[in-house]
């Protein structure tokens, strides 16, 4: 029971991080129709900016500001310099250009921040753990991560469904030409959405930096999983990104804990160990395959 709850919390925390990345990616992919492989790099930029700012200032709040500013600004620069010229192009051009940007960003980050991975401590006010249940102490930093994920979900829901900006963004997703005929410069709207995606990446970066290794290539690893999340949830849908992120987080968390145990009961230990190691890392892809078999557009597609 303790293990179950702990793994559920781990799943929630992983899901919260995936949601911060996937919500931006799904907006960019679903609304602007751009496959943006640099999304993971924005997360890395956020983490590096945070780690470096905390190292120099000693303040976690400065770290948050640096991560948001760094990733948000870098996103806007990328959009203006590269991505905005590719909206009408085939996806292949977008993949090639943004893949190039990954390589560029990796090199740029190691030039600016150095090759040695920076370390970032958990800020003092988030250190230690909380007794969630008798016998289960859970790290405060991870709980905070879950809380921030929840806030982001509520904030995005309000932004998309109850603001002028959200209305224009949703209209732009439905009908680019009409919005442009109404006198709204859709290019500026897209830049704004891209920047918003960058901010969310930065937020994920600063929250993840004390928990994970801040290093070159951290973005690519999480990028694939993020794409799995938006495919499961349905491209273009923030609600879908939330559901997908939680599902993937849970499957990953619970799979790690229970798959090896389950297989050991069925199979000889040597076979069970190899098989479970493989199955754990494959589990989210199996989940994606099952979801796509039942609902080819994902669980909650933006438009049915």
């Amino acid at each position: 029971m303790i293990l179950l709850i702990e793994q559920v919390l781990n799943g929630l925390q992983y899901g919260a991080m995936l949601f911060m990345l996937a919500s931006g990616l799904t907006l960019i992919f679903g609304i602007m129709g751009v496959i943006n492989l640099t999304h993971g790099s924005l997360y890395m930029v956020g983490a590096y900016c945070a780690a470096s700012a905390v190292l120099q200032s000693g303040s976690f709040l400065v770290g948050i500001a640096a991560a948001l500013a760094g990733a948000g600004l870098y996103a806007v620069v990328i959009e203006l310099a590269v991505v905005q010229w590719l909206y009408r192009r085939d996806h292949l051009y977008q993949v090639l250009a943004t893949l190039g940007l990954i390589l560029f960003t990796n090199e740029a980050v190691s030039l600016i921040f150095g090759r040695r991975p920076p370390l970032m401590d958990i800020p003092p006010f988030l250190q230690g753990s909380v007794t969630v249940l008798p016998g289960l102490d859970y790290p405060l930093m991870r709980l905070a991560f879950i809380g921030v994920g929840g806030l982001v979900a509520v904030g995005l829901w309000l932004l998309v469904n109850h603001t002028r900006l959200g209305m224009l963004v949703r209209a732009g997703a439905d009908d680019r030409e009409m919005v442009s005929a109404l006198g709204v410069d859709i290019r500026r709207l897209y830049t704004l959405v891209f920047g918003l995606g960058g901010l969310l990446c930065g937020l994920a970066g600063v929250m993840a930096a004390p928990l994970l290794a801040v290093e070159i290539g951290m973005g690519e690893r999480v990028l694939i999983t993020t794409f799995v999340v938006i495919v499961i949830g349905g491209v273009g849908s923030i609600r879908g990104a939330l559901v997908g992120a939680l599902l993937v987080g849970m499957v990953d968390g619970l799979g790690r804990a229970y798959l090896p145990q389950g297989l050991q009961m069925l199979l000889p230990p040597s076979v069970a160990d190899t098989l479970s190691a493989g199955l754990v890392s494959a589990s989210i892809y199996v989940l994606m395959a099952i979801v796509l078999l039942v609902r080819p557009l994902g669980l909650l597609p933006a438009r049915s």
Binding site: L159, H162, T163, R164, L165, M167, L168, R170, A171, D174, D175, E177, M178, V179, S180, A181, L182, G183, V184, D185, I186, R303
Partner: protein, 259 residues
């Protein structure tokens, strides 16, 4: 004051001068000149492939002409992009209806009102809470005869109702020129007639450039008609003149067709 008014009245809302657009060897717009005066309903007709759509996309600013100028209320807008022209007062509807399918009718009109009230300061305010805008939106829906359909989504509206809604969306932007691209397309006789009545009620209040295949509607509505054939304006005149013009009959209406 009177002079200013007179001069203003003399300035066409839309003036196209020597417009030319070619795609390789294909000349889609060939030295087209055309004027729409204040309050005028000017119809543009022509057979399929005459270059009507290419001309419209140039007027709206989606593609650039190779030569010539487009003047909007006397101001050269040839270099402006589509959103900038819309902000100057060029409203349009599309050949294929362009509305947000998941939005309700009133939300589509609200979107248009919000777009007009630009200003990025209150990007975070809730448009559905703005009582004044809601009232305005209801008014526009009422004008096009959709007062009762406000809360239905576009997906639930009939084809003819979507056309009406598209006009309401364009009107809510408070345009000075309405560019209607085949509004009757795909409509039954009944729907066409009710839309003709709607356009009749808008006539004189807006300068309108109407591109349409439905000759009954064109002849009933137009002050002047321009006939486009192979990218060139072969004739511009009143309804009677167009009906009688031999070249027009040959080129577009077909000699055998009784007019």
């Amino acid at each position: 004051m009177t002079d200013a008014l007179l001069q203003n009245a003399a300035t066409p809302v839309l003036a196209i001068e020597g417009l030319r657009k070619s795609f390789g060897a294909l000349v889609a717009t060939d030295n087209v000149s055309l004027e729409v005066g204040p309050g005028e309903l000017h119809a543009l007709i022509g057979p399929n492939g005459a270059g009507k759509s290419t001309l419209i996309t140039q007027i709206c600013g989606e593609i650039r002409p190779n030569a010539g100028r487009i003047l909007f209320e006397g101001r050269d807008v040839t270099a402006l992009r589509a959103p900038a022209r819309a902000r100057l007062g060029l409203g349009r509807t599309f050949q294929i209806t362009q509305l947000c399918p998941d939005f309700t009718a009133i939300e589509n009109v609200l979107l248009s009102i919000e777009a007009r009230h630009g200003g990025s300061f209150d990007m975070l305010s809730n448009p559905r809470r703005n009582a004044a805008h809601l009232e305005l939106a209801r008014n526009w829906l009422d004008q096009v005869g959709l007062a009762a359909q406000g809360d239905r989504t576009v997906a639930q509206l009939a084809h003819g109702e979507r056309r009406q809604l598209e006009i309401a969306v364009a009107l809510a932007r408070q345009p000075k020129l309405l560019l209607l691209d085949e509004p009757m397309a795909g409509m039954g006789a009944e729907e066409s007639m009710s839309l003709t009545r709607l356009l009749q009620s808008l006539k004189r209040r807006y300068a309108i450039l109407l591109v349409e295949h439905d000759m009954d509607a064109v002849f009933a509505l137009a002050d002047r008609i321009s006939v486009l054939v192979y990218g060139r304006v072969v004739f511009t005149g009143t309804v009677e003149e167009v009906r009688e013009h031999p070249e027009v009959r040959a080129a577009y209406l077909g000699e055998d067709r009784p007019c």
